[in-house]
Point group: C2
Chain length 300, copies 2
């Protein structure tokens, strides 16, 4: 009898730490706990404690951890958590007494997609997660493209070199300033202010806060202001996707994140702009991709 | 006694076909002939004839051919030569009776750089050739990134999505419209017309034709109009390089092509804009990179 391999994937986020036991291409156990906010030590202790608890139940031989940051050599840096040059993998191995593998969360998500998600029939894939920014992971020949360590930051392709908006990364005109979920919300807010007579503006005024639900609600009610905003947003999304296609010509593009919850409302007009033969899909794994990818890091 | 491997690399260009015998990391024989312009058949016959002649002198076991076009599956397409869906590799193998390997010429040049050029100490590299457009090849983990077949077209990253110039590829705002050697010449012509009192305009008027030599001559004479044009050109070059860094974070960037003939005049101010730690160099192989890469295709 063949025993299925059992792997543990951890997805460290700014709010929660998710734990998933992966076996036979499925998540057989899933749990989470809040991310401690006080120190890197506490976060590492918390992850270790849960891993060691799970180890009593599941026979995993190593731990894979996706992190919301980037590595320079062995040092982990994060924007929204207290890691600043932490020797994360070494520290975790000390606590766990087994091999630890770690990578950026967007890279883990991309790996998860190629291992068990919509990407599993392909070797070359790009995953774009439309959220606060545009997270991304590049897979070439079945492997994560890491370069010197910081590859896959496609949200920071410069698409407006002339009059570009300032980006948090220090550049101007980055793609994610125009095509992330947050960018769509900003564009909708601006349009609502410019068109106070619109359905969009009225609902915005009633609810006091712009979000995707309000936006796509007004879209399905046929608000022409929303239609214009959405069409312009899609054009900006296309610009980056076309650039990536010219650079990497992947077999498939996958989209994930907040904006993709509307499914075909996003995908159909996007596909129309890109052409029928363009292979682009919405991720079915979504948030779980990070767990699958982290679990699979030991083999990538 | 160890026998050095002998390989034949062919670089098919719009004007010339170059042949190089590579052994021990050096080109031990180099020859060329004009590219026939009448038909794909004649071009293939001409290449085959020279390969078979060389085969009598050198013990190569296969032939590698760089082509100025792209493959869709096995079909070769070119813009400036009469290939339009030709089963090029199969046709060449029929003529030569040995294995034939072929790839886009920019990919071959990148492979040549990683095998024997400035890239040889690295696994992840991007080569940018500043010419009529921006040719490019991407190496990840020591291998050419091909995607579905058309990857590595970095000259077509869209850097001005708002008011971009139309590009021959059908997109608007492509990087090569602003940062190729031809773009620099166009920018210089425009500046000369706008500043008829400048040294640039005077020399341009005398010689009747703008080119790199005239431009860099005026730069070394301290013409302030040229300085402004060159600085703006470098900024556009930087925009694309920064985008590529965010996407691929390669260990080294290499520059080749016409504009790089001025060496440090280009490299020093570019390095200053990118930062000291940025690893960017001018190719020492230049045109020979394509021969080395074609010769090395059988192993990549």
């Amino acid at each position: 009898m063949e025993t299925k391999k059992v792997q543990l994937g951890v997805d460290l986020g700014g709010t929660d730490i998710k734990f998933g036991i992966v076996s036979g291409g499925e998540i057989v156990y899933k749990g989470k706990c809040p991310t401690p906010q006080d120190s890197a030590e506490t976060i590492m202790d918390t992850i270790a404690e849960e891993c060691l608890r799970l180890k009593k139940e599941y026979p995993f031989q190593s731990v894979g951890i996706g992190v919301p940051g980037w590595y320079i050599g062995e040092e982990l840096y994060t924007d929204n958590l207290p890691f600043n040059g932490t020797l994360f993998v070494r520290e975790m191995e000390k606590r766990l007494g087994m091999p630890v593998f770690s990578d950026n969360d967007a890279n883990c998500a991309a790996l998860g997609e190629i291992l068990v998600g919509n990407g599993k029939d392909y070797q070359d894939m790009v995953l774009l997660t439309l959220g606060t920014g545009i997270g991304s992971g590049i897979i070439v020949d079945g492997k994560i493209v890491r370069g010197k360590g910081a590859a896959g930051e496609l949200g920071h392709l410069i698409i407006d070199a002339v009059n570009g908006e300032a980006c948090t990364c220090g550049q101007s005109g980055c793609w994610e300033r125009y095509a992330s979920a947050s960018a769509l919300v900003r564009q909708a807010e601006k349009a609502a202010k410019e068109h106070p007579e619109s359905l969009l503006a009225k609902t915005y005024c009633e609810q006091g806060k712009m979000n995707g639900k309000l936006f796509f609600g007004a879209l399905s009610s046929g608000c022409p202001v929303v239609e214009t905003v959405f069409d312009a947003y899609l054009d900006k999304l296309v610009v980056g996707i076309q650039s990536i296609r010219k650079a990497l010509d992947p077999e498939i593009f996958l989209l994930a994140g907040g904006t993709t919850a509307v499914g075909d409302v996003l995908l159909k007009p996007l596909q129309a702009k890109l052409g029928d033969e363009f292979n682009i899909k919405i991720s079915v794994l979504q948030d779980d991709a990070g767990i699958f990818g982290a679990a699979g890091l030991s083999c990538n």
